[in-house]
Amino acid sequence: MPIKILYFASLRETLGLGQESLELNATIDSVATLKNHLAARGEPWTALAKMKNLRAAINQRVVNADNAIADGDEVAFFPPVTGG
């Protein structure tokens, strides 16, 4: 079962993409390894590696880079929040 990846705000605009699906494999098993995999696609995906303070959530909870990802998870990447 693939994971769902969501992008928000300036990151969504930079990538020109709001969401996608991806099949996990042995080398993509955490937020950090997923981020590296995506950034390795080249421009504009390098933004994921370059953006300072990139935030990530798994299943709608904020997580750290070393957090594991499992099949079927909803993973989101976004800049620091600015509501209120």
Binding site: L6, F8, A9, S10, E13, N53, A57, Q60, R61, V62, A76, F78, P79, P80, V81, T82, G83, G84
Partner: protein, 160 residues
Amino acid sequence: MQEADFDVGAEIAALTAGHARAGAVASFVGLVRDSDHAAEHGGSGEDHGTPATINAMTLEHYPGMTEQALEDIVSEARQRWNLLDVTVIHRVGRLLPGERIVLVAVASAHRGEAFAACEFVMDYLKTRAPFWKKEETPQGGRWVDAREADDQAASRWSQA
């Protein structure tokens, strides 16, 4: 979350309607200002020396996670203080200067708890709830940068 505006007076009245012990309601309303956020603060970016006019503000959010984040924040406030009721309303979509963005209202028996909890919810909302602001200015669209001051405000509550 809603696109529609809200009625501050009605929300505050509703908050205490069922609570005869409510002696205090602290509330906060956040509004779209007419000039640039970063510039007002002396700027996190050096290229914002003079305040830029804001024509409109668009608020994006993460549906699903937003609800969960706000619930978590309110739940933590209720653990920390003795509260009777809490209301949080946050608008999304395109808003004009002067329009209301957010309402936080807290009812308690006493004012100290109401004030503290209201400010806590706002500080956490600003740093933990997945909303993002994009300003429309005469120079074009611009995503608002997160403010270090907001992180500092939120971090007060973990030191206490």
